[in-house]
């Protein structure tokens, strides 16, 4: 199977393409998305750091950019977690918010409501 690095990169591309061209929500072109993501990513760094720093989740060195050493910063890691986790988290939240906005627009078109 492809490495986590490649899979995470693909996930980001899939999420952005879905947002722009499939759902046409274009969240990545909005300030609101990036403002929300700038908050979310801080919490992702904390929670990924917790999961990885404590060894709740352990990564195979062959699947990630880094060597597999659990370090605070460097060797392919940020706040203990592999940088791939940031891509994973970005794709997860962008897809969820994209579908959320898409479903809201669908509902709004079916039942127009003020506000």
């Amino acid at each position: 199977m492809i490495s986590y690095t490649v899979a995470a990169g693909i996930a980001v591309v899939v999420a952005v393409v879905t947002d722009l061209f499939i759902l046409r929500t274009a969240l990545v072109r909005t300030r609101a998305w990036w403002a929300a993501y700038s908050i979310v990513v801080v919490f992702q760094l904390v929670t990924n750091g917790w999961l990885t720093g404590r060894g709740i989740v352990r990564y195979d060195a062959d699947a990630i950019i880094g060597s597999g050493r659990i370090v605070l910063l460097g060797d392919g890691r940020i706040a203990y977690a592999p940088v791939e986790d940031l891509a994973f988290g970005f794709a997860l939240v962008l897809l969820s918010c994209g579908l959320w906005v898409w479903a809201g627009a669908k509902a709004g078109a079916a039942h127009p409501r003020k506000g």
Binding site: Y4, A7, A35, A36, S38, L51, L92, S96, A103, G104
Partner: protein
């Protein structure tokens, strides 16, 4: 202490929920009133990521410490991992909605001081407002 260690993963999920859930009340969001919309947003994404997770764990990309998760497993993944794919998207959606609530407040509410210069056309700066739901007007 070893029994507490089993809570390690669950504690992270609780932390995320504790941080995100107050946004709903504080910003008077309507996320939980739209249960179908929430399902549409979360279920397909969670399914996709669980599939990825199952492939990645079977390929050995990552594994979970049995001492820091509950004993329950489904297809080899800790139950906390499934909850992760509900909790994190939910927290993301709540954050996104809170940011939008801040933005629409700014657009609709006049500046508090009548002599204040017109607000520059900037977006929300929610790192202070949405990130600290106990601060500010309410």
């Amino acid at each position: 202490m070893s029994s507490w260690r089993h809570l390690s993963y669950a504690a992270m999920l609780a932390f995320v929920l504790l941080g995100a859930m107050p946004l709903h009340r504080y910003y008077r969001l309507r996320v939980f009133r739209q249960s179908l919309r929430l399902l549409v947003a979360i279920v397909p994404v969670a399914t996709l990521f669980v599939a990825w997770d199952l492939m990645a764990t079977s390929a050995g990309h990552w594994r979970f410490d049995p001492a820091q998760t509950f004993a329950g497993r489904l297809w080899g993944l800790p139950l906390e991992e499934y909850a992760f794919f509900v909790v994190v998207p939910l927290a993301g959606i709540l954050t996104f909605e809170a940011v939008q609530a801040v933005g629409s407040r700014r657009r609709s509410a006049p500046p508090p001081a009548a002599l204040a210069p017109p607000a520059p056309p900037q977006g929300p700066t929610p790192t202070t407002q949405a990130g600290s739901p106990t601060a500010g007007p309410g």
